[in-house]
């Protein structure tokens, strides 16, 4: 199991946020924390999620986000300690 931070730039709409959470569920990941903040003209959200789960699922989660046209960017950073 690893703890990791995910940064996501996404469309500012409830469906996009729901999609993030549905992928957390599909990956059988657990959420330690999440913040969503509007950016720029308000049409996008910047999200920072702290997640726990198997390392392969962490990678899967970040790559899977890129399949859906709600997400502009997604990066993962493993956390230690």
């Amino acid at each position: 199991m690893v703890r990791f931070l995910v940064y996501i730039l996404l469309s500012n709409n409830p469906d996009a946020i729901a999609k993030v959470m549905l992928l957390v569920k599909q990956g059988r990941l657990t959420l330690d924390g999440a913040t969503f903040t509007t950016t720029g003209d308000g049409s996008r959200l910047s999200a920072i999620l702290t997640i726990n789960g198997p390392s392969n699922k962490a990678e899967w989660f970040t790559k899977k986000l890129k399949n859906f046209p709600y997400f502009y960017q997604a990066y993962m950073l493993p956390l230690t300690g």
Binding site: D15, K19, N56, E59, K66, P69, F71
Partner: protein, 574 residues
Amino acid sequence: MVRAVDALIKQMTKMGVECIFGIPGGANMPFYDALYDSDIRSYLMRHEQQAAHAAEGYAHVARKTAVCSGTSGPGATNLITGLVDAWMDSVPVLAITGQVVRAFMGTDAFQEADIVGMVLPHTKYAVTVMDSRRLVQEFVNAYTVAMMGRPGPTLLDIPRDVMQEEIDGVEDIKPEPIFVQTPPEPDVHSVMEAAKLIIDAEKPVILSGGGVIFSGATNEVLELAEFINAPIVTTTPGKSSVPEDHPLVLGVVGMHGRVESDMAIVDSDLVICVGTRLSDRAIGPPTEFEKNRKVIHIDIDASEFGKNVKPTVSLSGDAKQILRDLIDYIKHIAAKKPKSPLINRLREIGEAYDEFMLEQATSKITSWRAIWLLNKILPPDTVITTGVGQHQMWAQLFWKCKTPGSFISSSGLGTMGFGLPAAFGAKAAAPDRPVVNLDGDGSFLMTCQTLACISDYNLPVITVIFDNRSLGMVRQWQNMFYKQRYKDVEYTDRTDLVKLSEAFGVEGVRVESYEELEKVVKQAVRENTAVTIDLPVGKEEMVFPMVPPGKWLSEVKLPPGLELYGKVSSVHPA
């Protein structure tokens, strides 16, 4: 100024939408009103689930995004099974649903349902269009992204008043940048690494999935296999990715795969997986699959790498392009590999299985011999669809595809009732090709109203119902894993499938011999007419080979009485 929905229909026509499958209702009536003046053919289905499956069948054959439609509430929710089916098998389908007017949204209005919320887990993109000026743009986005990257379903939910609002005319709409999913270029170092693995392998196998079909990579898979002399096995969605009369193609692998295909994987030291998500049904436990062999995984969806199986080398991108680069590189650095005796040995195993099964089937009609016969008499470009159950497994074992993309089945979701509406959609896309739905009586009865559409639109589909008056696969599992405690798996004889078909306007025939079956099918193909054939088969039939759930492919159970111990070390009789 134009009605938003008229601008939508104009854009659909411009982008090549030729037909839609659906049912009108209160909330999508403006959409149908706009269709009235267009050249887009609309097929009035009898249930929205069938509309979605018909769109899947159409998309498979036309190799482009297909459109289905339903009204708000139940019209939309009825589409869900078809959309999830398309999600599981990566089929480009766009659903256009009506929604209650914006002022009523969120009030639990009549026929209001949050369809976007419901389909979000199983669509690439779903949106309720709240601004009429965005309607055409959102269509272009949803239609395009369904086919780009890894194909899949999308949904456009349109409140009735949004459709009816007047907007400025729209011209030359392109998908917004985030909807343009261009596959990455093959990574040169990974191509080189994969090439080295292939050259060093002594017993490589190619596992060809459904992604090969949508990528159009059939020739590249064959070229690679011929150069390295590797057997090709397929997943169920990949069954028609390669012609099964090719000497290197062994057939479908997995739980009810061909025994020679399962053994090819068991014996391999390298599996080159192309356009497959490596599901449990195809490969069994991933830990066993990873053991003692290297894995090259090629897929357009990078999230598949490591999801089930950890690859030795992964290559993200379009399968055709990656294979092209890989083949070119391998040909530069290595000579063609000589023919391996292993392939002949594997083929002998398959022939022994076929021979054994066909010898069993002398006194009465059996499903497998009927499919074997159909395979001999139907033209090579025949499109086959199936329901889900034992007949589907017999079809994947005994039907040999000769044309890429000609076998359409519900592989991932396993949706009973898929076959007939999918066949209708396939026939709409290819009216000049024979389309044959191989169905079970259980599956057929779930969506048999599609017969009305077959009759209405004169799109002649041949249906062969393998009629065992039971839910055969459930019965088989109750036999094998639940101590033969048969519960709710047997139907009565009271439902007359011939009369039922004729009630919908499609000729029905009950056949009692292989000769009759051949005669009826040949006549229907020759005259391009629809027919429903009720073919009685025994409910005691059990589909073997079978790998018990959770077991490795080497633990495949063979038909009782079939001995392959002399040919292969690790197969067991049932």
